[in-house]
C-alpha cells in the first residue's frame, strides 16, 4: 500500500509558542489510524495543517501527493472532516444541511444524500430539524456530511465526544463500514482509547507536540508489554497459595484465576496443564489494552 499522507519534520508555533515539534509520520492508503494523545497535545493542529487551513512554521507535508500550503483547495475537495462540534445548522433539517454542504463541495446529488442517510440509518428523520436530534444522531449526520463528496481521506476529531456507549459503538461500526465499502483512509484523533482498540490498524502517540511512538498494536504490545496478565475462568483449585506449577496467580472471584506470565509463549503450556487438572471456559489477556500501552509509552522519558 502506498502512503497517502507523508509528514516530515513539521513545526508549528502560535504566538511564538511551539505547538508541534519535529513531527514526522506517514499513513498508508486505505488504513484506519488513531492519533492519540492528551488534550492540548497538538492533535487538532495536525488535522488543520494537513487540510491547509493553517500553515506550518517549518517542515514538509504531502497529502495525496499534494502540498497543503499550495494545493489546499484540491486537498479539501478530496478530504472529508468531522470536527469536534457537529458543525451543522440546527435550524435546518438533516436533508437541507446535507444539500447545503453538498453544494459547498460541488457534489450535489440527491441519490448520494439518500444513500448516506440510509447507510447511517437516518433516512426516517431526514425532514426533522437537526437541533432536535440527540448527540449521536448529529454525529451520524456529521459523518454523512463528511462523505457527501466521496472523499479519499476522512479526518475525525474526537468523533465520540459526548456520545453514550451505544452511540460510540454505532459510530465505530459505521467507520468500519465506510472504510470497507468506500475504501476511505481514516485518521481519528482521540483521547478516549478503548474505543479505538478494535478500529485502528495503526497508532500515532502524540505528547506535548511530539510523536513519541507509532506502529501497529501488535508491535507496540511486543515492545511495551513485558509481562502478561491472563485471566482464566476455570474450575482449578491450586494447592499452593500463590503458585500453580511455577506460575504465579491470584484468585479473582469464583472460578477465576489471574496468572502473571513472563511472555505470551507461556500461555499455551499453562492452559495445557490446567486442562489436565480441570476445565477452562475462557482465558483473556487483561493488560493487552491500548490504554496500558498508552500509559507505558507516556511514562517513558523522550526528551
Amino acid at each position: 500500500m502506498a502512503n497517502i499522507i507523508e509528514v516530515e519534520n513539521i513545526q508549528k508555533e502560535f504566538n511564538r509558542k511551539p505547538i508541534l515539534k519535529d513531527v514526522s509520520f506517514s499513513i498508508k492508503e486505505g488504513s484506519i489510524n488513531g492519533l492519540l494523545g492528551p488534550n492540548g497535545a497538538g492533535k487538532t493542529t495536525i488535522i488543520r495543517l494537513l487540510n491547509g487551513v493553517i500553515n506550518a512554521t517549518d517542515g514538509d507535508m504531502k497529502v495525496m501527493g499534494l502540498d497543503p500550503r499550495k494545493d489546499g483547495d484540491e486537498i479539501r475537495k478530496r478530504a472529508g472532516i468531522v470536527t469536534e462540534s457537529a458543525s451543522l445548522y440546527h435550524d435546518m433539517s438533516a436533508w437541507d444541511n446535507l444539500v447545503f454542504y453538498s453544494k459547498i463541495y460541488n457534489a450535489y446529488d440527491p441519490k448520494r444524500i439518500t444513500q448516506l442517510l440510509e447507510q447511517f440509518e437516518m433516512l426516517p428523520f431526514k425532514d426533522q430539524l437537526v437541533g432536535l436530534f440527540s448527540t449521536g444522531m448529529k454525529k451520524r449526520i456529521s459523518l454523512a456530511k463528511a462523505l457527501l463528496h466521496k472523499p479519499k481521506i476522512l479526518f475525525l476529531d474526537e468523533p465520540t465526544n459526548g456520545l453514550d456507549p451505544e452511540g460510540i459503538s454505532s459510530v465505530i461500526h459505521y467507520l468500519h463500514k465506510v472504510n470497507e465499502e468506500e475504501k476511505v483512509t481514516i485518521l481519528i484523533c482521540s483521547h478516549v482509547l478503548h474505543q479505538l482498540e478494535d478500529l485502528c490498524d495503526s497508532y500515532l502517540f502524540l505528547k506535548e507536540g511530539r510523536i513519541i511512538e507509532k506502529g501497529i498494536l501488535r508491535e507496540l504490545e511486543d515492545k511495551y508489554l513485558t509481562d502478561v496478565r491472563l485471566l482464566v475462568e476455570t474450575g482449578l483449585r491450586p494447592q499452593e497459595g500463590s503458585h500453580y506449577n511455577g506460575f504465579a496467580y491470584e484468585v479473582k472471584g469464583t472460578n477465576k484465576l489471574e496468572f502473571l506470565l513472563d511472555s505470551k509463549d507461556e500461555i499455551a503450556p499453562l492452559l495445557r496443564q490446567i486442562l489436565n487438572d480441570s476445565w477452562v471456559h475462557s482465558s483473556v489477556i487483561i493488560n493487552r489494552s491500548l490504554e496500558s500501552i498508552y500509559f507505558k509509552i507516556g511514562g517513558i522519558d523522550h526528551e
Binding site: 502560535f14 488543520r48 487540510n51 491547509g52 487551513v53 493553517i54 500553515n55 489546499g72 483547495d73 484540491e74 479539501r76 475537495k77 472532516i81 470536527t83 462540534s85 457537529a86 458543525s87 451543522l88 445548522y89 440546527h90 435550524d91 435546518m92 447545503f100 454542504y101 453544494k103 459547498i104 463541495y105 460541488n106 450535489y108 456530511k145
Partner: protein, 280 residues
C-alpha cells in the same frame, strides 16, 4: 468565483432570515413604520384634520422662511401656492424630510443581517466546517454580502412601492401631482440606498469576520447610524438639501468606498488568518 457555492451560502442565509419570525418581523415592522405608517399618518392628519393649521402660529413663520429661501424655484412656487399651512407642511415633509427615514430603515435592516454573517457562523460552530471545505474565502464573502443585500433591498423597495401608493392615494386630491416620481427620489432609492446598503454590509461583514461575537459586531454596526442623523438634522434645519446632483455624488462616494472596502477585505482575510483569528 463559483456560482453554485455563492448561491448556496446566500440562499441558506436568506432562508434563515425569513424562517425566523424574530429576525424578519422587526425588519419589516421597522420599514413599515418608518416608511409607510408614519408618513401616511402624518399626511392624513395634516390634510384631513385641522391639527397642523391650529398650531399655525408656531409653524407659519419657519415654513414661510423656508419657502422664501428655498433654492429650487419650482418647489418654492408649488409650496407658496398651497392654500393651507397643513398642506405646505405635509408637502415639505414628504418631499424632503422623509429621505432619512428610508436611509434609516435600509441601514438598520442591513446591519441586522450582516453583523450576524460571520459571527453567527462562528457562534454556531459552522465556520470551521466552511473553512475546511473547498469553498474559497472570496466566495464565502460574496455569498454573505448577497445574503444581507437581497433581503434589505427587497424590504426597502417594497416599502417604497407601498409608500408611493398609499401616500399618493391620500395626497393626490390635494396636490394634483404624483409624489416621489421625481429624479431626487428615484436616485435616492435606486442609486444611493443600494450603494449605502452595500457599503454598510461590507463594513459589517468585515467587522463580523474580525470580532469574537455577534454582540460585538452589532456594537460596531451601530456607528453607521450617525451619518443618517446628520442628514436628518441638515434636512430639517435647511442646512443643505439633497439635490439630485448631491445624491449622485453621495452614491458614487459610497461605491468608491465599496471598492476600497473590498480590497481591504480580500487583503485581510485569507483562509489562514480567518481560521487563526476565528477558530479556537
Amino acid at each position: 468565483m463559483n456560482k453554485t457555492t455563492i448561491t448556496a451560502i446566500a440562499e441558506k442565509d436568506i432562508r434563515a432570515t425569513f424562517a425566523s419570525k424574530k429576525i424578519w418581523m422587526p425588519m419589516v415592522i421597522l420599514a413599515v413604520f418608518l416608511c409607510i405608517f408614519f408618513p401616511a399618518a402624518f399626511t392624513y392628519i395634516g390634510l384631513h384634520t385641522e391639527l397642523l393649521n391650529h398650531s399655525s402660529e408656531d409653524l407659519k413663520k419657519p415654513i414661510e422662511q423656508v419657502i422664501k429661501n428655498f433654492s429650487i424655484e419650482e418647489t418654492r412656487t408649488t409650496l407658496a401656492a398651497l392654500p393651507t399651512i397643513g398642506e405646505q407642511v405635509v408637502y415639505f415633509f414628504l418631499n424632503f424630510m422623509l429621505t432619512p427615514f428610508f436611509l434609516m430603515a435600509a441601514i438598520v435592516n442591513s446591519m441586522v443581517t450582516s453583523s450576524n454573517s460571520f459571527a453567527g457562523e462562528k457562534e454556531r460552530k459552522t465556520l470551521e466546517s466552511l473553512l475546511f471545505s473547498p469553498l474559497s474565502v472570496k466566495d464565502l464573502f460574496i455569498g454573505k454580502v448577497l445574503a444581507s443585500l437581497i433581503p434589505t433591498l427587497l424590504i426597502v423597495f417594497s416599502s417604497f412601492l407601498l409608500n408611493f401608493i398609499v401616500i399618493n392615494l391620500i395626497t393626490y386630491p390635494f396636490f394634483k401631482q404624483i409624489l416621489f416620481l421625481n429624479t431626487t427620489w428615484l436616485i435616492l432609492i435606486f442609486w444611493v440606498i443600494p450603494a449605502l446598503v452595500l457599503f454598510n454590509i461590507l463594513l459589517n461583514v468585515l467587522v463580523s469576520s474580525k470580532v469574537k461575537s455577534f454582540q460585538e459586531a452589532q456594537q460596531f454596526g451601530g456607528i453607521m447610524i450617525l451619518p443618517i442623523v446628520g442628514i436628518l438634522i441638515s434636512q430639517v434645519t435647511g442646512l443643505f438639501f439633497l439635490s439630485p446632483f448631491i445624491l449622485l455624488l453621495i452614491g458614487g462616494g459610497f461605491l468608491l468606498g465599496n471598492a476600497l472596502l473590498l480590497k481591504i477585505i480580500t487583503k485581510l482575510n485569507d483562509r489562514n488568518s480567518l481560521f487563526e483569528s476565528q477558530i479556537h
